[in-house]
């Protein structure tokens, strides 16, 4: 493969941030097709437009997802990227790896592909960037047989679920997000690999309302840890914070002098429900008013911890703007237990109810949040066989446009206009 001049990209080799251009050039030493990647990207920098064609359905036998087809629109200039398909490999929970595992994957990708990756794609997969159609099956064979690993999702199916770091290294996680993510990923392999949905569908698992995996913004079913009982307080540690012996916010603000820690200003006054106060040198919380926003816990991690009766809130319907505008997920189940012992059955039951309904009524390319908007939240709640509760809304409706069903209204809808006219002259 010819080396291309890349005067524009070369300018991205300077500066303190790691340069993907430098990295690609170094890789090109052993994988010459990386020159064509650089070359076509340079052309885009010059033309200020992409040089990739629209789609193309490629994949491995039996799977409808996991591979994204891609072809250059200037293949004659850059034959090394004529085909430039992406392979999505399902990532392990929390994206922990061993070097042995990754080295093997690198070898595989060097053998069958360009050697270029994304660690990771937006949804969470390991993205292997750039290979030819004829390499897909051999790669998949080696991935499954040699590594015991598998592809992730793409297209109108369940996308590879993702989770925050959870209990493995976070004191706030209210359930085992890694196990929940793993279990449900394994359970729904068919839904991940063989598109049967109206459009894509995502699960994300966050251990607490800080929501480090952006479940509420980016997943159709957002499972976010929470608790039922009281915030656990270590009053001795509270005193240490007040005394300035522990850094606020786990040291997150230590780069600037914000003055002495002020528990009133920094914690009590910022509590969105005003449910905290000091009394006799102790921090008091009216937990019945707490909405578990995490702020006080975030600020004083050595003094405060989530309660002990833990589980998750389930929210539904987040998506990016295309097509009807962005949506955050909506609170549907305020609290469910999240236990691996019963295979997360409360969650599984709910997920399958959502799918059953959405697969029936969802339109082509309609995310479940859009389907919810189209039918209305009251209808969604009804088909989910849930009791409507005020926690599902920020506020009650302000318009008076209520649908009443005939059976709810005394005497029904049928009336005789003649009878009416007998009492009311026209």
């Amino acid at each position: 493969m010819a080396k291309h001049e890349t005067p524009l990209l070369d300018q991205l080799e300077s500066g303190p941030w790691p340069s993907f251009v430098t990295d690609l050039k170094q890789q090109a030493a052993t994988k010459p097709e990386c020159w064509d990647i650089l070359g076509i990207l340079e052309l885009s920098f010059k033309d200020r437009i992409t040089h990739w064609k629209h789609g193309g359905i490629v994949g491995v036998f039996g799977y409808g997802g996991g591979i994204v087809g891609r072809y250059a629109d200037v293949p004659e200039l850059f034959p090394g990227v004529e085909h430039f398909h992406t392979v999505r490999v399902a990532q392990p929970s929390s994206k922990y790896y061993s070097s042995a595992n990754l080295r093997q994957l690198c070898d595989l990708w060097e053998k069958h592909g360009s050697g270029v990756t994304n660690m990771h794609g937006s949804t969470g997969d390991i993205i292997l960037l750039g290979t030819r159609t004829e390499n897909l099956e051999p790669f998949f064979w080696d991935l499954t047989h040699d590594m015991n690993q598998d592809l992730g999702g793409s297209g109108s199916n369940l996308r590879t679920p993702a989770n925050c770091i959870g209990e493995s290294r976070c004191e706030w996680s209210c359930y085992d997000t890694e196990e929940a993510c793993y279990k449900l990923t394994m359970q729904y392999q068919d839904e991940i690999h063989r598109p049967a949905f109206p459009y894509k569908f995502k699960f994300k698992f966050s251990g607490c309302p800080n929501d480090c995996v952006a479940a509420i913004a980016r997943s159709d079913i957002s499972v976010i840890g929470t608790w039922k009982d009281d915030i656990r307080i270590d009053q001795a540690a509270v005193k240490e914070y007040i005394a300035g012996n522990y850094p606020s916010n786990g040291g997150a603000h230590s780069g600037r002098d914000w003055g002495k820690f002020d528990i009133t200003k920094e914690v009590i006054d910022l509590c969105p429900t005003n449910c905290m106060w000091m009394e006799g040198g102790e921090l008091k919380i009216d937990n019945s008013e707490c909405t578990r926003c995490m702020h006080c816990i975030n600020v004083m991690p050595r003094a405060l911890r989530p309660g002990a009766e833990k589980g998750a809130s389930v929210l539904v319907g987040a998506k990016a703007p295309i097509l009807d505008g962005a949506q955050f997920s909506t609170l549907v189940l305020p609290f469910i237990p999240m236990s691996a012992d019963n295979d997360f059955e409360e969650l599984v039951e709910f997920i399958e109810k959502v799918w059953d309904w959405w697969m029936e009524v969802g339109k082509n390319r309609e995310r479940v949040g859009e389907t919810m908007q189209r039918v209305g939240l009251p209808t969604f709640i009804k088909v989910m066989e849930l009791e409507p509760i005020p926690q599902m809304v920020k506020e009650p409706r302000s318009n008076p446009y209520v649908f009443w069903a005939e059976e709810e209204v005394e005497g029904g809808f049928e009336r005789d206009v003649e009878e009416f006219r007998a009492k009311h002259a026209a």
């Binding site: 340069s19 929970s93 493995s168 290294r169 920094e266």
Partner: protein
């Protein structure tokens, strides 16, 4: 062994799913899962978590490009092998983390990372700017309105000091999506860099019959701007579509459904800046990012207009916001009119919503602040 194209289904294995995570846990993680008590950021990029067993784990977080090669991954593996029993992990924001089980292992790790030039900047913790999540851009995508990796490199070069320090009022999450499809879901970011198109699709009448389902192309437009039409191709009348350009808001959904309707353009495409979104439920509920700069050009290779805009917003925020206040919380507290004034961003009608839920954004109160906008 290996794949046999003549018998593709022979010995086929499928639906294995991902490897079980536990095999990749560093020993200290495995021993303490579910037992962590508290954590502290010891210095930018270095965290310590304390377990109820008394164990501690020290994490060193490094920014990387999202677009990396196997060469580079092998170097990461080398580091993990040398310092971390061969384990490592990635964060959801494309940072790589190395973990060690005692404090005395931290400095040798940091020294090693530092010795590798600018490959492994340590930071991305606490009240700073962490790594930018982003999409593919011109390196792989067929619908982008801008590049991704290149813009991110340019922005992070400029904001580098905020990555390696913790001097801001709160964490600032920056994200980039190279078109409205937002594979990167930038709609809830403190600062969002969004590729946008500004020219309506061309209609490739020669190609449309072969590559499009016309009803799908027509249905794809949220505003009904794509309509059935007829055209002459090679002397024959064919069924095709036309676009009412006044109703086009350049979402590109028609192109997604129909390859014969390309809309990318060197002059039309560029970047919009949205600010004030957040995902976390901490203090305030999650917020969407709001469009404050409708267009900046694709000035390759370093997007100086975009870099400057992001930096200006970040620095106005850094100067004015209160401790713990996210960008959106700050803007709401001071009022958006003050936001535009303090950030020195011209306000345009493009920032005024006219989509489906627009009414909720109109100011239906007499409460406002006097700014330079009021002549």
């Amino acid at each position: 062994m290996g794949y046999n194209p003549d018998k593709p289904m022979d010995g086929r294995i499928s639906d294995l799913g991902p490897p079980h995570y536990e095999q990749f846990f560093p020993p200290v993680i495995k021993a303490n899962k579910g037992k962590w008590l508290w954590h502290e950021i010891l210095q930018p990029g270095v965290l310590m978590h304390k377990s109820e067993t008394g164990d501690e784990v020290y994490t060193v977080r490094c920014g990387t490009a999202r677009l990396i090669t196997v060469n580079f991954i092998r170097e990461i593996c080398d580091i993990a092998d040398k310092h971390c029993d061969g384990f490592m992990r990635w964060t959801t924001r494309n940072n790589v983390e190395f973990m060690v089980d005692s404090k005395d292992k931290v400095q040798p790790l940091l020294d090693d990372l530092k010795s590798r030039g600018n490959k492994f900047p340590v930071g991305g913790t606490g009240a700073g700017v962490t790594n930018i999540v982003h999409t593919q851009g011109w390196v792989h995508c067929h619908t982008p309105a801008t590049d991704a990796s290149g813009v991110v490199k340019a922005v992070m070069d400029e904001l580098f000091d905020y990555f390696t320090s913790m001097t801001l009022p709160a964490q600032v999450r920056i994200a980039l999506a190279c078109c409205l499809n937002m594979c990167g879901a930038v709609h809830a970011s403190d600062i969002a860099i969004l590729g946008i198109h500004r020219k309506p699709p061309m209609i490739d009448h020669k190609r449309i019959t072969g590559v499009c389902e016309l009803p799908l192309a027509i249905a794809s437009c949220p505003l009904g701007a794509v309509k059935p039409a007829k055209a002459e191709v090679d002397g024959k009348e064919i069924k095709t579509v036309k676009v009412t350009v006044e109703r086009c808001m350049f979402c590109g959904n028609c192109y997604t459904m129909c390859p014969a309707m390309p809309l990318a353009d060197p002059e039309g495409d560029g970047i919009a800046i949205l600010v004030g979104g957040k995902v976390s439920n901490a203090k305030s509920a999650p917020k969407f990012s709001k469009l404050v700069i409708p267009f900046l050009p694709n000035t390759t290779p370093r997007w100086p207009e975009t870099v400057e805009a992001v930096k200006k917003i970040l620095e106005a925020y850094a100067k004015d916001a209160k401790k713990y206040e996210r960008v959106g919380e700050w803007a709401e507290r001071i009022g958006w009119e003050k936001f535009f004034e303090k950030c020195d961003i011209p306000f345009t009608e493009k920032s005024i919503d006219d989509y489906r839920l627009a009414y909720n954004t109109w100011r239906t109160t007499t409460q406002f602040k006097y700014t330079s906008h009021i002549k």
